[in-house]
């Protein structure tokens, strides 16, 4: 792939500067590549967990919701509305972030508050089907939150890995070849000058010798 060289003057100073840049670029490339490898390893772990959790949650939630809808159909709308209008517990979350390969991913924990009882209504008002669906839902809450945490982590890692790969590729296929080519160009140019100089000196010397 022809990448072209940088537009610089072929001087010794420029050569020294470019050699320094090449060193930094190569080192940076190696570091970023290692980072990418490790991020992918972590990502695969999270993605697997994400897949497993989502499969579980989807299955259980669909069942719970189905029984909920059925329960709703049996009793009349107003009763259900009334029964569930004031939830007996409110979920509170304890939030923080963890650092996964310098990506700040969320960490969510449940700080369940004032859970006096799981049913916000009296048993006489509604059917047993509603009870069971609400019970499954409560059981699912923890999984749902874990799913949110893992899925978000996956999303963020995926974006970061993509960005990082672009950086690695830019270094590997553009920056480093460009600098190498420019270094080659400058070295050749300097050698060429050197040769020209030697020839000139030899010529002068022979002219002086002829004169004497």
């Amino acid at each position: 792939m022809a990448v072209g060289r940088l537009k610089v003057n072929p001087t010794r100073m420029e050569l020294k500067r470019l050699k320094g840049r090449l060193k930094t670029a190569t080192r940076g490339h190696k570091l970023l590549k290692d980072k990418s490898d490790e991020m992918i390893r972590r990502f695969v772990e999270y993605a697997k967990e994400n897949k497993r959790l989502r499969a579980e949650v989807e299955e259980e939630l669909a069942a719970a919701l189905q029984s909920f809808v059925l329960a709703k159909a049996v009793s009349d709308e107003a009763t259900i509305q009334e029964a569930l209008a004031m939830p007996s517990k409110s979920v509170e979350l304890e939030l923080s972030t963890t650092n996964v390969m310098s990506v700040l991913v969320p960490k969510i924990e449940i700080k369940e508050s004032n859970s006096r009882e799981s049913y916000p209504y009296a048993f006489s008002e509604v059917t047993a089907q509603l009870d069971s669906s609400i019970m499954t839902m409560s059981g699912l809450l923890e999984k749902l939150i874990r799913l949110a945490e893992v899925e978000k982590t996956c999303n963020m890692l995926a974006v970061e890995i993509e960005k990082n790969r672009r950086r690695v590729n830019a270094l590997e296929y553009v920056m480093i070849p460009q600098i190498e080519e420019t270094i080659k160009f400058i070295t050749m140019k300097l050698e060429e000058n050197e040769r020209g100089n030697i020839v000139r000196l030899m010529k002068v010397k022979s002219m002086l010798a002829d004169k004497q």
């Binding site: 909920f68 517990k89 809450l141 949110a148 974006v159």
Partner: protein, 107 residues
């Protein structure tokens, strides 16, 4: 404050989520969802949304992907899963690794 859980969905199922302590919001189309999200992203850590709604406003959800909060998670509705959530994981894997290595084992 960032410590609430919200659920956006249709009337039928949000009640079930309300019963276990989430804040629930009713929405039926993409426009409602995006204005809700704008409001909720300031106060909620997790926003669950039904798969069919998520599918309708994908471009809006994309915007929230890179921030750590809120996490917007599609969930199946009472009709069962449409596979949209799994599709999301698949997309992430493809994005990160370039090829899908988690899912193609099964099919």
């Amino acid at each position: 404050m960032y410590n609430k859980i919200a659920m956006i969905g249709d009337r039928d199922i949000i009640l079930a989520f309300k019963a276990i302590g989430m804040d629930t919001y009713e929405a039926t189309d993409a426009e409602q969802v995006s204005s809700l999200l704008k409001k909720l992203s300031k106060e909620c850590a997790i926003i669950y949304i039904t798969e069919d709604l998520a599918q309708e406003c994908e471009s809006v959800l994309e915007r929230y992907k890179t921030k750590s909060y809120p996490a917007i998670i599609p969930l199946p509705s009472s009709k069962g899963s449409t596979g949209y959530g799994m599709e999301g994981i698949k997309k992430d894997v493809e994005r990160a690794i370039g090829a899908d290595i988690l899912f193609n084992k099964e099919d």
